[in-house]
Symmetry: C2
Subunit: 140 residues, 2 copies
């Protein structure tokens, strides 16, 4: 009884290639991943099949070789994954987790300005302290 499909680590690698190329044949995906990883082509085929079953990819089957296209937007997928993970965290600690991410990620000047902008907006209504609700019955 799973409500929302999630993407496994290996599946992410496949999707990234297809998102970046816009679309791709299995050969393209396999060539790239055989350079990035030590996966066998059979493994990569399995991942493509699973991504289709999960409705993250579709195959254009009008002619061979099939062309695979994403069915989910990359930014949406990122949004869902990241927020899904943050749901696990104590809300009191999310701020520091974000700071840690900032320090450990390469970020462009324009993204930095963007994030600062978002933070300034946030500061208008942000609380002095965020309460930990790890022991509360309450959802989230």
């Amino acid at each position: 009884m799973k409500e929302i499909e999630t993407m496994s680590k290996a599946e992410w690698q496949v999707m990234r290639i297809i998102w970046t190329l816009g679309q791709a044949t299995s050969k393209e995906v396999i060539d790239i991943l055989e350079r990035k990883t030590d996966w066998k082509s059979a493994t990569i085929k399995t991942l493509i099949v699973r991504l289709q079953k999960k409705n993250f990819l579709k195959a254009e089957e009008t002619k061979r070789p099939y062309v695979y296209k994403p069915l989910i937007d990359e930014d949406l997928a990122i949004h869902q994954s990241v927020n899904n993970l943050f749901d696990n965290l104590c809300c009191m600690r999310k701020g520091q987790a974000i700071k840690d991410l900032v320090q450990n990620s390469e970020i462009s000047q324009s993204d930095i300005s963007d994030i600062v902008g978002a933070l300034n907006a946030k500061a208008q209504t942000a609380p002095e302290e965020v309460e930990c609700n790890c022991l509360e019955a309450n959802l989230s």
Copy 2:
């Protein structure tokens, strides 16, 4: 051949309680999680056992009922999980992912300042653009 143990979603819930309390008996954990979720006590016992096998928890077995204590620091666990997820992402998109997180998380005033501070430091050396390496053979 798994190098680093990961914490599953359900296991996170257990750890959060024990981190917040500092230590806890199984009864305490079960009482709290039975209010937060619809898990049976048997399920929660299983999670506690698995967390011990993964070395995230240890039981103080000197007297009954056992007292369970965390073997991993909460901030370290968060750091590992979050960075592990971010490793899946196209590096070009991490900035926007962080912005999205900022917008969707409750963050305290002091954490906001902290993050802004980190961003300002980052801006000293940040590149104009971050290159996508989704198709590169290169690690990461």
